[in-house]
Symmetry: C2
Subunit: 218 residues, 2 copies
Amino acid sequence: MAKLTYRFRDPALAQLALTHRSAGKPNNERLEFLGDALLGVIVAEMLYDAHPNASEGELSRLRAQLVNGQALAVVARELELGDDLKLGSGELKSGGFRRDSILADAFEAMVAAVYQDSDFDACRNWVRELFDERIAAIPRSSKDAKTRLQEWLQAKGWPLPQYELKDSHGEDHAKTFDVTCAIEEPQALVAEGRGGSRRAAEQDAAESVLRQLQESRS
Amino acid sequence: MAKLTYRFRDPALAQLALTHRSAGKPNNERLEFLGDALLGVIVAEMLYDAHPNASEGELSRLRAQLVNGQALAVVARELELGDDLKLGSGELKSGGFRRDSILADAFEAMVAAVYQDSDFDACRNWVRELFDERIAAIPRSSKDAKTRLQEWLQAKGWPLPQYELKDSHGEDHAKTFDVTCAIEEPQALVAEGRGGSRRAAEQDAAESVLRQLQESRS
């Protein structure tokens, strides 16, 4: 546990976080449920603060990059959690301490163990230290919404989106533009966008079309 | 905002939480992303504490009952969030202030607004007040894992599970039992279970089979 960077008041909690269900009960499954949720909110807030202009969809996508099983297994390995895992004999023989899913689950459980051993702020600080550089390292999608929409339609061989200025209002130095973005395929769709420039309004409308396409696919 | 039971230092945050994307930008979508995660962890912890013997799968199922769009819309209506929603003209005409998804999103955004206006503890207290009775009101699945597995297989017309005692060890007053639970349909599966009695070990094994079936379906 040399690499944990958090010192437990109650070491039994850390032990529990490292006990895989193959070792019997009690094990880390319940802690993992709580830790998954804790990690979700802490990383959500970090991204929220780091990317003040990112849309909800973009924040979700970034978070999924950071907290999937493979990414969490990397963190678990840095913390050397595998060395202290408690596994049943079957998992032990088959090298369960090296398996991504087992390591990721143990890391999530450890987040909950830190929370239960202290409080939300201490847990958040611990997670922030682990994720600060990771969050700085993932670039936001460098392509804007108009570009992404256009490239996607082109790849499918479908007609390009039509943007139309519908309205502009407000005084000259603080104008607001309303535009629409319309596509024909895979379905006829028109979305509205608004912004402080025509270009910003078009981006907004394109983002809305992308979101509707995503929703209708899911 | 009479029913909010939380008094904002910064009322602009509450306004933002109530601004639907149809009203333009800024709107509540980013706050909703954060609020969804906050609600997830707060309700997760409440269930964790309320059901010390519930499995991870059971906790997930209970949480999904409490925080789905329909359930959150009920909370939003109790808080009368619909009265203060800011909607675009299209949504306004079509009665968007009554729509479940818009109300649920506004509630999630409000959770994040409370958090940003104060801190995690205050936000948690606010959410706990809203969910205390709801959590007390949902019963845990009263059926145990063996019963659920058996009923499910029977409903499909498939063979019943076979339980087998593999091992028991430890002294008489603190014995541990290892059993297996095997099914043939929808796929051949064998899971191990462990417990302080043969029955408890069988429940554990049945739970494990149910979990594997769930994982292979998703």
